[in-house]
Each structure stands twice: as structure tokens, then as C-alpha cells.
Amino acid sequence: MSRLRGLWARFRARRIAVAGLVVVVLLALAALGAPLLAPADPLAQPDPVALQNQPPSPEHPLGTDRFSRDVMSRLLYGARVSLGIGAAAALLAAVIGAGVGVAAGLGSPLVDQLLMRGVDVALALPRVFLLLLVLALWEGAPAGVVIVLLAVTGWFPTSRVVRALVQRLREAEFVQAARALGAGRWGLVRRHLLPHLAPAVIVAATLDVGNIILLESGLSYLGLGIRPPAPSWGNMILDGKDQLFSTPWVAAAPGLALLVTVVAFNLVGDGLQDALDPRSEK
């Protein structure tokens, strides 16, 4: 697969993107290995009085919060939440967006218009507002619902990109050649369209992860996402915000983690976009 190797070579050439990739990989490992890496149970409150608000120490590398819960453990388990929801929602959004994009791109002008005007309307609605509305009305929504909501409100840009690509590819000579050979619609989509769409969709999804993680954190911060005591970076910041100056580590740790994560995903997404640039593939 010399093309994959070529892709990797181009990606590797941008060192900052590689840095981002390293961070993402470390994060994924940390999230996966949370049970092994966490010094304590993230929910345990060993001594709510004596051990509350402890600064970082050997037993508690990132200190404790006001419920004497170990911040580091909560951070690692929180990573699971953020990355898990981020990846799942981004993936789901990518699939929905690509599906709609292909349907609009290949369909009759009527179908195309209907779908795309629908997307236009949806894009006009503020995503955050919708999320807030639904989650405020639905108390205690489980993580699965949050994922679906995030995906369902976020697939629109992908669908437009995919539709544009499909429309262009439709006229491509190699697609005409395949039609002349007798390829049916599904054959065309599978053999000719998807390989071309994959890069754009992957890039869009990667960039979206950062966005979704931020959204989820924001929702949790507002008390609408992951509810305490389950840890999420968002609700950790909520916990620590009132004591920013007295016990900064409680809010700073998740805050910093968020920053680093989102930037890392964006760097990887940008790097992928450059590496997948069709101009460099000739």
C-alpha cells in the first residue's frame, strides 16, 4: 500500500501535526488505561473533611477536590468520557453526513434540493441552543442520548462537503468509464465514490472531535451533560470554579487537559488535510 506510506510520509513532514498525533495517542492510552493508571477510585471520598482540597502530593499527583476525591483519577476517567463521546459522536455524524451527502449528490435535482435546503435550515439553527433545549427538558439523559444528540446536530457541514464532492465526481471521466462498463449505482458508490470521499470525511470527523469534546464539556459544565458524581472534564471545571484562586488545581487540570486535547485534534485534522491534499497525490 504505497499510497498509505506516501500519506504517512507527508503527514510526518509536518512536525506539529505529529506532535498532535502523539498527544492524541497518549490521551487514548490514558483513557483506555484509566483503571490501571488511576491512583484511586474517582468516586471515592475517603475523608471529606481531612483530605479535601489537598494540593498535589505523591499520593494525589493532582491533589483532591472539595469532596476529597482524587483529581488525577477523575481526570483519567473524565478522559474516557470526553474521548469516548467525542469519537462516537464524530463517527456517527460522519456516517449520517456522508450518507445524506451521497444521496443528495447522486439523486435527482428534486431530491438534492430537498435535502440541501433542509440542511441549510438546520445550519441556521444554533447547535448549542438545540442541545441545551433538549437536555434541559430531558433530566438525566444517559451518555448514549448525548452522543446521538451531538451527532444529529453536527452532521450538516459534512453532508455539504460530501455532496459537492459527489457532484464533481459524477462527471469525472473514470466514473463515466465505469458506467460504460455496466457498473450499477451501488458499484459506483462502493468502488469509485467512497475511496474519494473517505479522506474528506475523515478530516471533517477529526476536526469535529475537538468541537464535540468542547461542547460536551460545556454541557457538563452547565450541568446538562454528564451529571456528577461521574467525572467529566466539564463538571470538574464546574466543581472547581468557585475556588479558582484557593485550590486552582481542581479546575486547572481539566481545563488544561481540554485545551491540549482540542488543539491536538485540530492539529491532527489539519495535518491530515494537508497530507491528503489531492494536489500532492499525482
Binding site: E173, L181, G184, R191, P195, K282
Partner: protein, 334 residues
């Protein structure tokens, strides 16, 4: 390359491809918000035929409709009226399953070796696609067939693992030919197959096409704007202008004494690699016409340099009429 002997009119021998008064019009939206609709009369009543194991050359410049004609014959675009029959069967009346079977018999080779191959598919996969679609071979048998085809077009067997960008224009074009041959067609529509290639590579691919025709008994509808190339490959030639055939006949006669003013101008415009011989040059004024608004009467009259051009030319559309044995031209004066 001899002109095939045609049986006398009584014998019901069918030509392989028969196009009768085929017309293809497109609607196009232009203007600020797509408010303005215009009709592009790409192909206007074209009648032609390609016999078995025969090559018909189709010559014309950009905008004449030859590419649209090619695509219509392959049912890649819809017709507006007229018929196109392959081996007696109406191509536009076929049910999807029948159409798919029919696609094996007519194939196309495109002009642009860079665009006609999927850049993300290996050459081998591209050739194999036809075999898969028509269930001609699978697995190891398919691989073998791919290798055979590659060798037949002059590429090495390991080209199958390569991607299009690793090959030169000439090699890609050969791959495109192999892909078309995979389904064992009887007629190949060659749409400017060598125009994008360098001179020396052009010669290689033309020789290949000639060899393949002899070996496989193929028919060609050979479309090109390059008159010298068409002269080399086609014993019969049709000249297209603004969606219509304006002249057609045996190549020798047509090239030696063209009857239609457009053909005359076209031939005089071709630069010949001979610095010594002076040829009279007919320079056509103005732009090539747009198929959106073809002029009334003869489509060529606005640019025609014929001394006897008159009102008839501007109002009455000329039909193809025989001017010499086998040679027909659509001109009131020619």
C-alpha cells in the same frame, strides 16, 4: 486498409452500429440565479453507420457535438429524438438488465489518460471491474485475465499493482484500452484517444489500436479533431459541424477533393510537415459557433467563404446529397 465491400442493396446485412437522425439537446441554466434557460443543441439529426470490423472516422472541432454523440451512443447521456441501433437492437429501448449485457459489446476509450482512470484504484482493479460486473472471471482466473490483457496492450504484468499516477500518459491510455477490452467488445468508440499524447507515443498507441482491430476483428468509431490521425486509421470519414454531419464518404475521396466548404477549410488549416509545398489556405473568419443558437439555414453559412453563397444558404438547411460515388455533402453549392 481497404474499404469494405458492401453487399448490394437487396441483402439485409445489418451494420453493427446504425445511428438514425439522432438528436441530443440539453437544457442549461445560466444567469445570476439560474434564471435564464438555454437549450444546447449538441447533436442535431445525425445519421451514420459503422459496419462490422470497420472503422468510421468522425472529424470535427470543439463544439461540434462529436463527444456528445459518442456518449449518447453509449447511453451515457439521454437522447432527445432519433434512434441508435446496435446489431439491430434499439439501444434506447433496452431494459436495465439488457442494457448491462449490451454494454459488453460497445466500449469507449477516452481522451484524457489522466482523468479516465480512477486515481485511487490500481490499474489491475480498474481492468478487473469489467470482469466482475459481467461475471466473466473471478479470483485467480480474473488475475490471469488481467495479466493477459496487460500484455496484449503492451504493458508489463506488474503494472496491475500500480496506481495511475505512476505511469506515463501513453501507458495510462493503454491501460484504458485494456479496461475496455476486458469485456470483449465488438465496437470501440475512441474519443480522441491520442490527442493528449506526445507524437512518438501517439504513434505507438495508434499502432496498437490497428493491431487490436486486426487481431480481434473490432469496429471503431474513431473520433478526433486531428485530420492526419483520422486519415491514417479510417477508410471512411464523416465531418461534423454544429451537431450535424456536413460531409461523409471514403477517406481518399474526401481528403483529395472535399466538397463541403467547411471540410475544405479544415483541410487547408492543418499544418503539414513540409516547408516547401505551398497550399492555398482558407482562413475562416469569426468564432466557431455556439450550439446554443445555431443559425437558420445552413449551419456553416456565417463563416462560409464560398463565392456563390446566397439567400438559400441562409434560410434553407441543406441535406446530405451524393456528390461523387459514395461521397455525400450537405451544401447547396458544393
Amino acid at each position: 486498409m481497404t474499404t469494405p465491400v458492401r453487399p448490394y442493396a437487396g441483402t439485409p446485412v445489418r451494420d453493427l452500429l446504425e445511428v438514425d437522425a439522432l438528436t441530443v439537446h440539453f437544457t442549461r441554466r445560466t444567469g445570476l440565479f439560474g434564471s435564464h434557460r438555454e437549450i444546447v443543441q449538441a447533436v442535431n439529426g445525425v445519421t451514420l453507420a459503422v459496419g462490422r470490423q470497420e472503422t468510421l472516422g468522425l472529424v470535427g472541432e470543439s463544439g461540434c457535438g462529436k463527444t456528445t454523440l459518442a456518449r449518447a451512443v453509449l447511453r451515457l447521456v439521454d437522447k432527445t429524438s432519433g434512434t441508435a441501433r446496435f446489431d439491430g437492437q434499439d439501444l434506447f429501448a433496452l431494459a436495465p438488465a439488457e442494457l448491462r449485457r449490451m454494454r459488453r459489446r460497445l466500449q469507449i476509450v477516452f481522451q484524457d489518460p489522466y482523468a479516465s482512470l480512477n486515481p485511487r484504484m490500481t490499474i489491475g482493479a480498474a481492468i478487473r471491474e469489467g470482469l466482475t460486473i459481467h461475471k466473466l472471471a473471478e479470483g485467480a482466473a480474473a488475475d490471469r485475465r488481467v495479466r493477459e490483457l496487460l500484455e496484449e496492450v503492451g504493458l508489463s504484468a506488474d503494472a496491475a499493482h500500480g496506481y495511475p499516477h505512476e505511469f506515463s500518459g501513453g501507458q495510462r491510455q493503454r491501460a484504458g484500452i485494456a479496461r475496455a477490452l476486458a469485456v470483449e467488445p465488438e465496437l470501440l468508440v475512441c474519443d480522441e484517444p491520442v490527442s493528449a499524447l506526445d507524437v512518438s507515443v501517439q504513434a505507438q498507441v495508434l499502432n496498437l489500436l490497428m493491431d487490436l482491430q486486426a487481431r480481434r476483428g473490432l469496429s471503431y468509431l474513431f473520433i478526433s479533431h486531428d485530420l492526419a490521425v483520422v486519415r491514417h486509421v479510417a477508410p471512411r470519414v464523416a465531418v461534423m459541424y454544429l451537431g450535424r454531419i456536413v460531409e461523409e464518404g471514403p477517406a481518399e475521396a474526401l481528403y483529395a477533393r472535399p466538397r463541403h466548404p467547411y471540410t475544405q477549410a479544415l483541410l487547408s488549416a492543418v499544418p503539414v510537415p513540409d516547408p516547401v509545398t505551398q497550399r492555398p489556405r482558407i482562413v475562416l473568419p469569426g468564432d466557431p459557433p455556439s450550439p446554443v443558437n445555431p443559425p437558420p439555414g445552413c449551419p456553416f453559412h456565417p463563416r462560409c467563404q464560398h463565392s456563390a453563397k446566397d439567400q438559400t444558404c441562409m434560410s434553407v438547411r441543406p441535406e446530405l446529397e451524393e456528390r461523387a460515388p459514395g461521397l455525400r455533402a450537405a451544401c447547396h453549392k458544393g
